[in-house]
């Protein structure tokens, strides 16, 4: 049994496009149509005639969409538990329908995520909370797929749901490697009636016994989410040079020692709240206004720049760098005199 939507193309041009999301007239609604005629016959004028009332029952349209919501690869660490991917599953039909959600590791990536679980965002805040959200799939094991059947009501509050896929990252991958995981939703009516093609009809299989008709999505949709290993590291390399004032580099009282600290941020991702501080060595005294950050002179008293002298000339130099995206390098210098 097939139905042909031959006029859809024409309709799209002439009428405003039907909303792609849920919808439409609820399954089971009765559409009534009755016409009226007026006419004159002989000496009788203003006669009227009313037709029969044609009644059409609205079928249940089966349509679903799955979209990945994270907007980019989700950063995780090696051996991290409970990495979260966020998806939106939408019942785009016009009835209440159960969808079989299936989470599966995909190929074409670097590693497989393990113990994949499916959670429903119970409070609708788009944030995964293991305490208040609902685990709907049995806890998985290994790298296998996992399923759950969930009811979506196209005419109610559960027309769309945020679905979280939660998995554990193995200890083997290295920086920037990815794992691709798919969330699929398929109509249970489509599964049980073997409906696979747009226009397929299952008589009486819809809400309240109306026919179920497969829409453009074929009752099946999926989306992939991607985990990426993001390991960032910070390395400091400190060196010094001495100017004894006599053209040499002998450390004598009064000699000036210039310390250079090279800050390397490597890997991928970024670090936040990066602060580098260094105590003024014993038996030396900080040279006023000698700090530089990436060759820019710094104000000892702090202010808007990175460098600041804390605890006086025998104290500590503090560089507040903040968020640094890998890969980056910054260079700090300051001078002291030997007491």
């Amino acid at each position: 049994m097939k139905r042909f939507f031959t006029l859809l193309g024409t309709m799209a041009l002439l009428a405003p496009p039907l909303a792609a999301h849920a919808a439409g007239t609820a399954a089971g609604t009765v559409i009534s149509n009755s016409a009226t005629a007026t006419f004159d016959a002989g000496s009788s004028t203003g006669l009227t005639e009313t037709s029969n009332t044609d009644q059409l029952t609205v079928d249940e349209l089966i349509d679903v969409s799955v979209t990945w919501q994270d907007g980019g690869n989700v950063s995780v660490g090696v051996s991290e538990a409970d990495g979260v991917l966020e998806f939106l599953v939408s019942n785009d039909g016009n009835g209440s329908e159960s969808y079989r959600l299936t989470v599966t590791n995909q190929g074409g990536d670097n590693f497989d995520t393990t113990n994949l679980e499916i959670w429903i965002d119970a409070n609708g805040n788009d944030t995964f909370e293991s305490g208040s959200d609902t685990l709907v799939s049995a806890a998985g094991s290994g790298t296998g797929s996992n399923t759950a059947d969930v009811v979506f009501d196209a005419n109610g509050a559960t027309e769309t749901r945020t679905v979280f896929v939660v998995g554990d990252i193995p200890g083997t991958p290295t920086n920037t490697q990815t794992s691709r995981v798919q969330l699929q939703a398929r109509s249970l009516t489509a599964i049980s009636n073997a409906l696979t093609t747009q226009g397929d009809v299952a008589a009486g299989a819809g809400d309240g016994g109306v026919d179920a008709v497969i829409g453009t999505s074929t009752g099946l949709d999926s989306a992939d989410g991607i985990y990426v290993i993001t390991e960032v590291s910070v390395a400091l390399t400190k060196s010094s040079s001495v100017d004894d004032g006599f053209g040499g580099s002998t450390v004598i009282p009064g000699a000036v020692i210039t310390y250079t600290i090279v800050v390397d941020v490597t890997g991928s991702g970024s670090v936040d709240n990066l602060v580098v501080d260094d105590d003024i060595p014993t038996n030396t005294t900080y040279v006023a206004n000698s700090m530089t950050f990436d060759t820019v002179a710094q104000v000892d008293a702090g202010g808007g720049d990175e460098g600041e002298l804390s605890g006086g000339t025998k104290g500590t130099v503090v560089f507040t760098i903040g968020t640094v995206a890998a890969v980056a390098q910054h260079t700090i210098t300051f001078d002291v005199t030997v007491d």
């Binding site: 031959t6 006029l7 005629a37 059409l56």
Partner: protein
């Protein structure tokens, strides 16, 4: 016999009433809903036929046909046929058809009628703007010629289930 005699006036009255009723409605009207079914014939040509429907899914196009016939003894003159577009459907612009009929439409629930292209509705800014086909609420056909006794015909339009 006495009983029958007593009943006669009643029977005559009933006959007279049904005769009056038949005279009052010589025009009959019937609405059917169908869908277009496209098949390919032996020569590879696409053939479109109509098939009665009792159910339809959102997005499907319904062809509504209103058949009229004059079963009376006199011509039916000044015939108009009015059909409200079911609110659960959207009229497809340009789809209304009626041989020998002039079409007007309403976008205000049947209060006023005009040619579809001349219909105006208030826009978001309060200014009147052309009505979209899906905003048409009623269609009305006016037959240019009388329908002779025994004559019949139909008018038709297409609408998409919302």
């Amino acid at each position: 016999m006495n009983n029958l005699k007593r009943l006669m006036p009643v029977l005559l009255l009933l006959l007279a009433q049904s005769a009056v009723a038949a005279d009052a409605t010589p025009v009959t009207l019937g609405v059917v809903a169908e869908r277009e079914v496209v098949t390919v014939d032996a020569d590879g040509n696409q053939v479109t036929t109509l098939e009665r429907v009792t159910s339809a899914a959102p997005g499907e196009t319904i062809v509504y046909t209103i058949n009229y016939a004059n079963d009376g003894a006199e011509p039916a003159e000044n015939v108009t046929i009015t059909d409200p577009v079911p609110p659960e459907t959207a009229y497809i612009g340009g789809s209304a058809f009626g041989a020998g009929a002039d079409l007007v439409a309403s976008a205000d629930g049947g209060l006023t009628y005009a040619a579809p292209a001349a219909l105006r509705v208030p826009g978001a800014d309060g200014e009147l703007r052309p009505a979209r086909p899906d905003e048409i609420t009623h269609l009305r056909w006016t037959l240019r010629n009388p329908v002779a006794p025994g004559g019949r015909g139909f008018v038709r339009f297409k609408a998409t289930v919302r």
